[in-house]
Structure formats: structure tokens, C-alpha cells
């Protein structure tokens, strides 16, 4: 009994001292085995070296510049525009009675198809320069009437498809920098769809009809499309210039424009007095989109994830170190000495995990802190457009990648403690984390399999490297192959952390129960 009393009195202090000792002992082991230090340092170096390789190996000098929107983001700004200058305030009204899209089924085999985000409507734009500010109201192929501005803003209006029996009337009102969009199903009763403050519009703008038709998602890739709209009842009020309506493709040569299907081009025909401006009817054919760029529409764009491709090589290095950090003890029977010195066995495991995590995290952070700016500089120097990221996102990618490496090493430690076998532990963790990305990188992998493996395996943690943003108003392949992960960054990391913690718990139970 008295023994219990003594332990409870001094137990806490002794325990804390004890843990500090265990930590110190494990740190000494880690830093004095040359192979382990080399492995951790090599991991950091590989992150940097692969970033340099990715930067140097790219060459896009002389490619047309990527259009950039008012917020600094890359945009697609290509569409067929039938326009006239508008000085000062004014409004424009039109009816859309048909919006028909075609998608090629094979080379030169154009068939009627559905393009949910085909757009036909009115736009007021600072100029025909790509990336200039605008506000537009449009009928779409499958999302009803929308009011969009600044490339990223999107407001829903009346739903339903347009047809000859059910046309939509659209109106844009410009008053200074304020543009208001209205829609109507009968041409008399109007409802407001949205109001946009378009900064930098200037006094004279270009306004008129437009048709855009973005590529459609097809079998893991995309196919170009083309759409034709029938406009009628075109009326203008206010400071519109007289003369003919001018038609032309905006952004015909742009990296974010996939072009027209084979043997098709944009055009417009005006029925009746094209110059009258009131009550005129037009048929306009166009392709392209007015929207933020995604990986599908800007495949040549660089992302941080590509620059950090060395993470996979680094991962293998730290996993080998993590597994050997415990399995070598078993192989050399050192574990008996370790456990004799610290009989509370799970504390040894926790100390090993902490020391390993911290050392790997530091090496990984140094690696990513050097790799990201160097890789970006080199890539930009070789003419690559790198998708812009905020500095907080960049920090998340850098620290998240380091945490990913550190946690993977701890997972390998846990698996190594369970299996007591280096090769088995390394294989298990590498297969669980790297193989998903080998499968994702195979172009014919079904999208369902890609999303599944990127959500449930510990490899889900690579979501911390996602910098691309999916947009509801852009149809695209939002799959891991294109850099869009099914889980948000920290949720993906939590999956890996969950595996590591669960692995450590199992290992702690087993190390207590089994003979060393």
C-alpha cells in the first residue's frame, strides 16, 4: 500500500522526466544513424531537385498570353460577339427563341448535342480585349437564364430551356458602372436577375449579342462544341452609336480557347435591316466561353502540385526511414534494451513518432520552402503560365506537403511496429499512398476508381497540394487526374492522420502484449 502512495506522490515528476529521457534517447538514435539522416535529408533534396527538373524541362516560350480577369485569375474569354459602341448610359433588349448546340461524335461528324453551359444573350464589355470587365445576361443550354459578370460571378434567373414556343426576353441596363439584367418570358413582365458593379468599364463600351459554347466533358476528356442562337426583336435605347453591327470572334487565338469543331466557324446573319437597330433579328453561331479558366480549358497551365512532384520520391525515402526506425531495433534486438530502459512500452512508440514526425517535417518544410519559389521562377522563365495562388494557399501547400511526409513516416513507423518487418511496412505504405497516383495518372483509369482511391486511401492527403478551384458554372473534368481532389485539403490530410493514429494505437497495443 505504501508503495502505491509513494508512486502517486512522485509519479508525475518522474514520469515527465522519464518521457524527456525517452525522447532524448530516440532523438539520439535518429540523428546518429547515418542512413536515416541521409534518408531524411535526401527527401528534402528530392523535393527541390524535382521542382528544378519540372521547371527546366518545360518550354512554352512564344505561346500566346493567357487572358487574365479583373481579379488576376486566368479566364476563358472567347465568344462570338455582334457589337456596337455605347457611350454613356443605355439599355439593350432582345429575345432568344432558339439555342441549338452540336458536338462532334467523330472527326468531321457533327451531331446535335446538349451543351449545358452553351450561352446566348447580351453582354456589355469594356472592349473586345480578352479579360476586360463585362456583365452579361444569357439563356443557357441547361441552366436557365443566368446573369454573369467579372468571369466568376453567376446569378440564376428563370429556369427552363428556350424554344420557339417558349422564348426568353433579356435586357441589360447600363447606368455608369452599374449594369442590371432583366429577364422575361413574355416580353412585357420583367424580373430583375442581378445587378453588377463593373469597375473600369469606361465611358464608351462595346455592347451587343453573343454566343459562346464551351467544350463538353466526354469520356474523361473534352470535345469542342458549337452553338447557334436565333435572336429577335433587338432594340437599343440611350447612347448607342448608329451604323452596322460588327460581328467577330473575341479571343480567337487564346490558350484558353479550344476552338471550333472541324469545318465550322463563328458567323452571324442579320435578317431585315441590320443597321436599323430596332426590331432586328439575328442568327449567331459561336464557340468558346466567358468564364474562369479550369485545368481543362488551360491544360498548359502549371500548378504547384506539378512543381512538387518530387513529393512522391521523398515519400518513399521517409517511409523507408520511418519503417527502419523501428524494424532495425527488432532486427538487431536493440528493442530489448530500449524496452528494458523504458518499460512503459507505448511511450517508446510515442517518443519515436514525435521525433520522427518533427525531423521529417523540418526537412520537408525546408524542401518545399525552396522548391516552390524556385520551381515557379524557372517555370515562368520558360514561358509557363502558373495558376496564381494566394500566399496563404502557398503556405498551406508548403506546410501541408511537409506534414504529409512527416505523417507518412509515422504511419510507416506504426506499420513497421505491427509487422516488425521493414520490407512489408515500406511496401504497405508506399502501395497505399503512391499507387493511387500511379493509377490516377493512367489515362484510361475510370473516373470512379480515381475518385475512390483519392478519398479512402492514405494517399488522400495529397489533397493538401490542390490549388485549382472548381466552378459550378464551368463543366469540366474535376477529377484527381486534372488536379481536383474529391476531399478538401485538410480533410484529405485528416484521412492520412487517421490512418497514422489508428496504426500507432494498434502498434501500442501489440508492443505491450507481444514479447520483444
Amino acid at each position: 500500500m505504501s508503495g502505491t502512495a509513494v508512486r502517486s506522490r512522485s509519479g508525475r515528476r518522474a514520469g515527465r522526466d522519464g518521457f524527456a529521457h525517452v525522447l532524448h534517447a530516440e532523438w539520439t538514435k535518429l540523428r546518429t544513424v547515418r542512413g536515416w539522416v541521409a534518408g531524411i535529408v535526401a527527401a528534402g533534396l528530392m523535393v527541390v531537385l524535382f521542382a528544378l527538373l519540372t521547371g527546366v524541362s518545360s518550354d512554352q516560350k512564344g505561346a500566346p498570353p493567357v487572358p487574365v480577369g479583373p481579379g488576376g485569375e486566368p479566364v476563358a474569354d472567347s465568344f462570338y460577339f455582334v457589337h456596337r459602341p455605347l457611350t454613356g448610359n443605355g439599355s439593350i433588349t432582345v429575345s432568344v427563341a432558339a439555342l441549338d448546340s452540336s458536338v462532334p461524335r467523330g472527326p468531321g461528324d457533327l451531331r446535335p448535342g446538349t451543351v449545358p453551359w452553351a450561352k446566348a444573350g447580351l453582354v456589355i464589355k469594356e472592349s473586345t480585349r480578352q479579360g476586360s470587365p463585362y456583365a452579361a445576361i444569357m439563356a443557357t443550354g441547361g441552366h436557365g437564364v443566368r446573369m454573369q459578370d467579372g468571369y466568376v460571378n453567376d446569378h440564376a434567373g428563370p429556369a427552363g430551356r428556350v424554344s420557339a414556343g417558349s422564348p426568353r426576353w433579356l435586357r441589360l441596363d447600363r447606368s455608369g458602372d452599374t449594369v442590371t439584367g432583366y429577364a422575361s418570358t413574355d416580353g412585357t413582365r420583367w424580373i430583375g436577375v442581378g445587378t453588377a458593379q463593373v469597375r473600369g468599364l469606361g465611358s464608351t463600351v462595346q455592347g451587343g449579342l453573343f454566343v459562346a459554347s464551351p467544350p463538353v466533358v466526354q469520356g474523361g476528356g473534352t470535345a469542342t462544341s458549337v452553338s447557334t442562337a436565333a435572336f429577335g426583336d433587338l432594340r437599343t435605347r440611350g447612347g448607342w452609336a448608329g451604323g452596322d453591327w460588327t460581328g467577330g470572334q473575341v479571343g480567337a487565338r487564346s490558350p484558353t480557347f479550344a476552338g471550333y469543331p472541324e469545318n465550322v466557324s463563328g458567323s452571324f446573319t442579320g435578317a431585315g435591316a441590320a443597321s436599323a437597330g430596332s426590331g432586328a433579328a439575328f442568327t449567331v453561331t459561336g464557340a468558346g466561353d466567358m468564364a474562369p479558366a479550369v485545368r481543362d480549358s488551360l491544360p498548359t497551365g502549371g500548378v504547384l502540385r506539378d512543381i512538387l512532384a518530387g513529393t512522391f520520391a521523398a515519400l518513399i525515402a521517409v517511409v523507408v526511414v520511418g519503417a527502419r526506425f523501428i524494424t532495425e531495433e527488432y532486427r538487431r534486438k536493440m528493442i530489448r534494451l530500449t524496452l528494458a530502459a523504458s518499460p512503459r512500452r507505448s511511450r517508446v512508440l510515442v517518443a519515436k513518432a514525435l521525433v520522427l514526425w518533427a525531423a521529417t517535417f523540418v526537412a520537408g518544410s525546408v524542401g518545399t520552402a525552396l522548391a516552390i519559389p524556385l520551381g515557379e521562377r524557372l517555370a515562368r522563365g520558360h514561358g509557363v503560365y502558373v495558376f496564381p495562388v494566394s500566399s496563404s494557399t502557398e503556405l498551406r501547400v508548403a506546410l501541408g506537403t511537409a506534414a504529409l511526409l512527416a505523417t507518412a513516416a509515422v504511419l510507416a513507423l506504426a506499420v513497421g511496429a505491427v509487422l516488425r518487418h521493414g520490407a512489408g511496412a515500406v511496401t504497405a505504405v508506399v502501395v497505399a499512398m503512391v499507387l493511387p497516383y500511379v493509377l490516377i495518372a493512367v489515362p484510361f483509369t475510370p473516373a470512379g476508381l480515381s475518385k475512390g482511391v483519392a478519398a479512402v486511401t492514405p494517399g488522400a492527403a495529397f489533397a493538401v497540394q490542390q490549388t485549382l478551384v472548381p466552378y459550378a458554372q464551368v463543366a469540366a473534368n474535376y477529377t484527381p487526374y486534372y488536379g481536383y481532389f474529391p476531399l478538401p485539403p485538410w480533410a484529405g490530410f485528416a484521412v492520412l492522420a487517421g490512418y497514422a493514429v489508428a496504426g500507432l494505437a494498434v502498434a501500442a497495443v501489440l508492443i505491450d502484449r507481444r514479447d520483444a
Binding site: 525515402a317 523507408v320 517555370a379 520490407a423
Partner: protein, 252 residues
């Protein structure tokens, strides 16, 4: 040589690990192939790509246990010190390595045949109609894919054996092998220059070797199916040669 071979076969036969690893390789190959086939969007026209390749996709996973088996067949001996006994019994070190390589070839070829035929069978059951023609062994390209995939697994085993002989430690050995197999294809995708990208795809042991699985659209491949397998064979030969030389010159 016969006695060395007999000794290696006895080692392989009497330890539980190799059997479990080969069973794991078969199970992993069939399971991943079946999983991929079951989530594929298939129409009467096909599955949006190469059906044979889809059914044999499990090899990406199944090669890992094969590599472990090969690595352990030599580094396991280094781990326990058994290698000294082996080399004392058969002082001609090249003979030891050759015996190991031959034993491994037999075991992996047998296991690989089960794995690949199982995958084809699973593919036929899961993809009725669409898979019929593409997954028939009487279809020339499919037969080539099947035979080639078994050979590919054997070559991955030999490559792993050579690398592990050079590295000696099992964890580091398997790390090197999995790095060669898995990391090169991922890196080649991020390389911007198409010329470099093609070169990496042509020379990486996995992406080159698995060209042997292609049955459609052969013109778009960076290199022809058998030439691809030849590249993997080159890697295996280089690894065995390096391992063999180091085994000769180093102390055990």
C-alpha cells in the same frame, strides 16, 4: 548448380512468406482488375479504351508483392546472417544468385499466370458483351498481353532481386524498387517538354514494360509492345549484373 538450385527451392518452399506473398499477388491483381472493370463505363462499343488493359490493370498492385518476394529472397538472408551459410555452402557467388534468379523466375511465372488468367476471367464475367472479343485468348493481341504480363512480372521480380542484392537491406531495397516502378511514371507526367516526357515513358521500367498490355491503338504508343518489355528486361539484366558484381566483390 543443380544443388544450389535445389537449396534455393527448399528455402523458398519451406518458409511461409513466399507462398503468402504469391497468394497476395494473385489476389491483389485480380481484385484491382475486377474493381476497375466494375466501375468502368462500358457501352456496346467498348469501355472507352483498351478493355484488355483495363482487365489487367491489377498488375500495378500485384507487382508489389512480387517485388517484396524477390527482395526478401536475398535481403532476408542478409537480415538473419543466413547469407554467410549460403555462401559458405556454395562459394561461387554468381551460382548462388543465378540459382535464386531461376527459382524466383519459376515461382513468379506460376503465380503470375494464375494472377493474369484470373484477371482475364474476372474481366469476362464483369464485362459481358463488351469484353467478349477483347478478352478472348484466341484474339492475338490479347494473348500477347496475357503472356507479356506474366513475363513482365517475372522481369520485375528479377529487377527487384538484382536491386536488393546491391542494396542488401530489405526496407531500402523495396524502397528503391518501388521508387523505380511508381515514381518515374508520376514524374514523367509533370515534365512539360513532350520530348522528355516520351523519353521517360520509353525508359521507365513500368511504363515501358506495360506497353505489352496494349491491344488497341498501337500506333500512339511511345514504343511497340515487345520492345517495351525489352526495356524492362534491360533493367532487370542491369540490376542483376550490378547486384552480382557487388556480391562478388563485397564481404557478406
Amino acid at each position: 548448380m543443380r544443388r544450389a538450385l535445389h537449396a534455393e527451392w527448399t528455402k523458398m518452399r519451406t518458409v511461409a512468406g513466399p507462398l503468402w506473398l504469391m497468394l497476395g499477388a494473385v489476389a491483389a491483381t485480380v481484385a484491382l482488375g475486377a474493381g476497375a472493370a466494375s466501375v468502368a463505363h462500358c457501352t456496346a462499343g467498348g469501355c472507352g479504351g483498351d478493355t484488355t488493359k483495363l482487365a489487367l490493370m491489377g498488375v500495378y498492385l500485384g507487382q508489389a508483392p512480387v517485388a517484396v518476394l524477390a527482395v526478401l529472397s536475398i535481403s532476408g538472408e542478409y537480415g538473419t546472417g543466413m547469407i554467410r551459410t549460403s555462401l559458405a555452402a556454395v562459394p561461387r557467388r554468381a551460382t548462388v544468385l543465378a540459382a535464386k534468379a531461376l527459382t524466383l523466375t519459376g515461382v513468379v511465372a506460376a503465380g503470375g499466370a494464375f494472377a493474369v488468367l484470373g484477371s482475364v476471367l474476372a474481366g469476362r464475367l464483369i464485362l459481358p458483351g463488351a469484353g467478349d472479343r477483347a478478352l478472348s485468348l484466341s484474339h492475338g493481341p490479347t494473348l500477347r498481353a496475357v503472356v507479356g504480363t506474366v513475363l513482365y512480372l517475372v522481369l520485375i521480380g528479377l529487377l527487384s532481386l538484382g536491386a536488393a542484392t546491391a542494396v542488401r537491406d530489405s526496407a531500402a531495397g523495396i524502397g528503391v524498387v518501388l521508387g523505380l516502378l511508381y515514381v518515374l511514371p508520376i514524374v514523367s507526367r509533370t515534365v512539360g517538354d513532350p520530348h522528355w516526357q516520351r523519353l521517360l515513358q520509353k525508359t521507365a521500367p513500368m511504363s515501358a514494360g506495360l506497353a505489352v498490355q496494349a491491344t488497341t491503338d498501337l500506333g500512339s504508343l511511345p514504343l511497340s509492345p515487345w520492345a517495351g518489355l525489352g526495356v524492362t528486361a534491360g533493367w532487370a539484366a542491369a540490376a542483376l549484373l550490378t547486384g552480382g558484381l557487388l556480391l562478388r566483390v563485397r564481404d557478406a
